[in-house]
C-alpha cells in the first residue's frame, strides 16, 4: 500500500479505500444509465441490497452525506453520479462537506481568484 502523506481534509483514494468502497462505487458506476437511476429511486433499499452495500455504506447513502460516503470507501468521481440523481452540483456537495451554505461556498471559490 502507498505510504500516505497526511494532507489535511483529504482522503487519498488508494488500494485500501478502493477495496473498502468497491460495492458502493460499483453501485454509483451503474448510475451512468438513466434506467438504473430510475430503479434506485423506485426502491433504494432493494437497489443497495442488489449491489451488496454494507450497513455503513447504506446508512451513508440514506443520509446523503458525502463525508460519510467517502469514509465508507466512496470515490468522488463515482459519488458525483449519485449526487447527480438529486441534481446536486459540486458546489452543493462542497458546501455540504465544508459545513457552509452554498452561497458561502461559492463566495469562497470566487475569493480565491483575488
Amino acid at each position: 500500500m502507498l505510504e500516505v502523506h497526511r494532507i489535511p481534509g483529504t482522503t487519498i483514494f488508494d488500494g485500501t479505500q478502493a477495496m473498502r468502497g468497491y460495492a458502493l462505487n460499483r453501485m454509483c458506476f451503474s448510475f451512468n444509465q438513466a434506467e438504473n437511476r430510475k430503479d434506485f429511486l423506485k426502491d433504494e433499499e432493494a437497489y443497495m441490497e442488489r449491489y451488496g452495500l454494507d450497513e455503513e455504506q447504506k446508512a451513508a447513502v440514506r443520509a446523503r452525506k458525502v463525508l460519510d460516503l467517502i469514509a465508507a470507501g466512496g470515490n468522488i468521481y463515482y459519488l458525483a453520479k449519485f449526487a447527480g440523481i438529486f441534481g446536486l452540483t459540486v458546489q452543493d456537495i462542497g458546501a455540504q462537506q465544508t459545513g457552509m451554505s452554498v452561497e458561502a461556498f461559492r463566495q469562497m471559490l470566487r475569493s480565491q481568484g483575488d
Binding site: G87, T89, Q112, G113
Partner: protein, 279 residues
C-alpha cells in the same frame, strides 16, 4: 513524415459542457473563460492540424475500479460519448484514426510502455469538453487518438512517468510515415478538490507557477510526486500529469502562443495554454 505542430491544454470541467449546451458565452460568469478560446482557434485555423492526440482521464464512464489501466489508448475509428449520470447532453461520436493509434501503440510498447489498447472505448467530458472548446464548429471532424491516464485511483503514474510517456508519444508521431500535422492536447486541471473537508481548495500561486514553468522548464514540474500534486493542486488537481504528458510530446523549440487563467469555473482554477512546436 508526421510532424507535431504544437500542444494545447485546457481544463475539462463538466460544467463547461453544460454552459456550451446553453450557449452561455456572454454570461458574466462564463465570459472571462470563453473569451480566451478564440485565440487558440485562430492558431488552429492558421496551423490546420490533421489529427489530435487527446490526453485525458476517464471519470467513471468507461473504466470502473474492476480493471483500471494506468495508460489506455484508443484504437478505433470512432469513440462514443454517453450519459455520465448528471445531465450534460450526450454528444455525437468523435472520429478516430485507428491506423495512427496502432502505430503509436506499437511504438510505445517497443519503448517498454506497456499500455492497454482499446478498440471500444467511451470518451467522457474529460475528452469531449476540450474538443468542443477548441473545435466548436464541429468537434467530431478532426481524427483523434484518445490517451487515457488513470487519475481516479492511487497509485497514479508519477508526473515524470507521464512526461516520459509524452516524449515516447512524440517520437511515435515523428516516426509515422504519413505526412500529417499533429496537435497534442493535454486536458484537466488546474487546481481543484471536490472531496473532503478541503473541498473548494484552489491554489492560484501554484497554478500560475505551473502555467509558466511548463513552457521552458517542464522537467522541474515533472520531479514532483503525485502526492505533491494532490497537496499543492488539490485531490483532482493531480490531473496536471495530463498536461505534463502533452508537454513531453513537444520535442522541438517550444514557444508560448497564448495562455489564460481564471478562477473559478465550477470549483476549479481554469487554465488554458497554446504552445507552438517548431522543428
Amino acid at each position: 513524415m508526421a510532424r507535431i505542430v504544437g500542444g494545447l491544454t485546457t481544463s475539462h470541467i463538466p460544467a463547461i459542457g453544460g454552459a456550451i449546451a446553453k450557449k452561455l458565452f456572454e454570461d458574466p460568469y462564463w465570459k472571462p473563460f470563453f473569451d480566451a478560446y478564440p485565440k487558440a482557434r485562430n492558431w488552429l485555423d492558421a496551423v490546420k492540424p490533421d489529427a489530435a492526440i487527446v490526453i485525458y482521464n476517464d471519470h467513471g464512464l468507461n473504466f470502473f475500479l474492476d480493471k483500471m489501466p494506468t495508460f489506455a489508448i484508443g484504437a478505433a475509428d470512432q469513440y462514443r460519448n454517453e450519459d455520465e449520470g448528471w445531465g450534460i447532453p450526450k454528444l455525437p461520436p468523435f472520429k478516430g484514426d485507428a491506423k495512427l493509434s496502432w502505430h503509436i501503440i506499437e511504438s510505445l510498447v517497443a519503448e517498454e510502455f506497456d499500455i492497454c489498447h482499446c478498440q471500444d472505448m467511451l470518451v467522457d467530458h474529460g475528452f469531449a469538453v476540450p474538443m468542443q472548446l477548441f473545435w466548436p464548429q464541429d468537434p467530431t471532424a478532426i481524427p483523434t487518438v484518445p490517451v487515457c491516464i488513470n487519475t481516479v485511483q492511487h497509485p497514479m503514474p508519477s508526473p515524470m512517468r507521464c512526461f516520459k510517456l509524452g516524449r515516447a508519444i512524440g517520437r511515435a508521431i515523428e516516426s509515422y510515415p504519413e505526412d500529417l500535422k499533429v496537435v497534442v492536447v493535454g486536458t484537466g486541471g488546474m487546481s481543484h478538490q471536490l472531496d473532503g473537508t478541503r473541498a473548494g481548495f484552489i491554489n492560484k500561486a501554484f497554478d500560475l507557477m505551473c502555467l509558466d514553468k511548463i513552457v521552458d522548464e517542464p522537467e522541474t514540474l515533472a520531479k514532483m510526486s503525485s502526492l505533491d500534486l494532490v497537496r499543492e493542486a488539490g485531490a483532482q488537481g493531480a490531473e496536471f500529469i495530463l498536461w505534463l504528458a502533452m508537454r513531453g510530446a513537444l520535442t522541438g523549440r517550444v514557444r508560448k502562443v497564448h495562455s489564460n487563467y481564471h478562477i473559478p469555473i465550477s470549483n476549479t482554477g481554469a487554465g488554458m495554454l497554446v504552445l507552438e512546436n517548431a522543428a
